[in-house]
Symmetry: C2
Subunit: 319 residues, 2 copies
């Protein structure tokens, strides 16, 4: 198969920092277009990727008649749905940055449209491609999980400086990073898990939680406990850790999936190429096989937590 001609739509920070370098190092893809409302002002990017043609928006791209097989959508969730439908109906394969939609029903709607159009739709979760996640998955595959704890603590001021949207309706607050943990945990535990109660700490001057503790269970009658601690005010190094106790030892994924520890000993195996390179490797496979990968479970877990959560007012948050 020849390379997949891809257009990158939405040339913001994540596209520049992650998507463009990952595409540049993947021979399966040929970057043919850069689509952005402000593309005319992004001269530096255009010079760095001279083979890619600039377009103002998706309409202009589709009207141009250039050969394109796929689009990668790095636009905000509010406009992602209509662009994805437009691309799918034009016969293109589609990659969505996380989260794949504003709500779970929107994602399920997109899945149906992709199935009808028989196109590849990849609702990507970059954390699933972190260096040791696949090794963790393989280690767990022949073991029985007994309990899981997730600790996800980072500094919102470092990761989202002055970004007011994280506190607004739909911004998800501390669940914006937590969804990365949920994307890994749902991959590691195919039988699944669910939440039964949630405590949400909401700053008095904000709408979204700055911290949360969740309790739940692994799927099944004697499913074992699930405990999640989320905190958006940890300064210094982030703590992004998942521990799964099994019938044959304890697995720990550290640093968001970068390192694997078994029974307290570092056990890193052969590393994946990294989050975004791995993500595009997976997208290339999906496109070649013409199949979908649309897993809304990480978003479902966020929605469940926010639906069932007990809200407690805590100190105001100021940047």
């Amino acid at each position: 198969m020849s390379s997949i001609k891809i257009a990158l739509v939405g040339i913001g920070k994540i596209a520049i920092d992650q998507h463009l370098p990952a595409l540049a190092h993947n021979a399966d893809f040929e970057l043919v277009a850069l689509v952005s409302r402000s593309i005319a002002e992004q001269q530096e990017i255009l010079e760095r990727y001279p083979q890619a043609r600039p377009f103002h928006d998706m309409d202009e791209l589709l009207a141009s008649g250039i050969a394109v097989d796929a689009v990668s959508l790095c636009v905000p969730p509010t406009v992602r749905y209509s662009l994805a439908v437009q691309a799918l109906e034009a016969g293109l394969d589609v990659l969505l940055e996380k989260p794949p939609g504003r709500g779970v029903a929107e994602v399920e709607s997109l899945r149906k449209i992709a199935e009808k159009q028989q196109r590849t739709l990849f609702a990507s979760w970059h954390s699933r491609h972190a260096e040791q996640v696949e090794n963790a998955r393989v280690w767990l595959a022949d073991k029985t999980p007994r309990a899981m704890t997730i600790e996800w603590r980072e500094d919102v001021r470092f990761w989202h400086p002055e970004q007011e949207w994280v506190w607004e309706a739909g911004g998800m607050g501390v669940f914006d990073p937590a969804i990365n943990a949920f994307s890994i945990a749902t991959l590691l535990l195919p039988e699944g898990f669910y939440f039964t109660e949630a405590q949400l700490d909401i700053p008095g001057n904000r709408q979204q939680p700055i911290a949360a503790t969740l309790k739940g269970a692994l799927s099944g009658t004697h499913g074992g406990s699930v405990e999640v601690t989320l905190d958006w005010q940890k300064t210094g190094d982030p703590l992004w850790q998942i521990d799964i106790t099994t019938d044959q030892g304890v697995m720990t994924l550290e640093e968001g999936g970068a390192h694997l520890v078994i029974d307290g000993k570092r056990a890193d195996g052969s590393a994946s190429p990294g989050e975004y390179p791995g993500l595009y490797q997976h997208f290339a496979e999906l496109v070649k096989r013409n199949v979908l990968d649309v897993d809304a479970r990480p978003l479902t877990l966020v929605a469940d937590a926010l639906m069932m959560g007990n809200r407690r007012e805590v100190a105001e948050f100021h940047w």
Copy 2:
């Protein structure tokens, strides 16, 4: 096939008012057991259904060795999951009152367990069996929907007098009745719809919304608008209405599905036997065919709305 031997678990108001009369008039079922922590004090019920044996809990029922094919769970959502798993693993078919779980992930977990056990699991939505819902579905089946509005207004003081749980974490507030509308709308529109924004009015002394307005779209590129108005302070008769504009006229379901209006004219067709009788008729068909009916979409729509909703504080609520 002989009749389905069924045990009713959780003998509270909904079981007494709806489930027991519906079962008494359905020849497909034989009520063999009544299961309740307080069954010893429920002499009046036991006398009314003398063929049903009383049990304190599910353990006692399963240990008794009496012949039983299915259980209907009318217990609160907090204990529903473990009882459902216990029943499925004992080889019984299971009917769940609405909502089928505390969260969407819990329902999906139950679905997987039922599939593994090859048992029938019916996550029931009683409003789907209202008198004219099936006629509405048939009328819509060959038309293209262009827009939908839902108005669901009732008096919380009448329907949930002094029930504090409706305002607490997991209680859902005005989405407790709204989920009935969503269960009908998802049945009528198999292509689906989704919400894109929500305004939630939260009384200053409560956690859950007393009113809400939602905006969304029918699935697809030119999906048409979806508008939902929810209000829990309408005194007098409730207003439970769904309007769907199509390419061939406007359909209105009034009174929660009891009446059908096409282009402004009453158009009731042959009525279903009513909500709970219809629900048990459907369960009997599912059991005979040994298939599942687990549709979490109504709960997903509630979770989506609560996840993306903009919260506005409104006047305190007192009973």
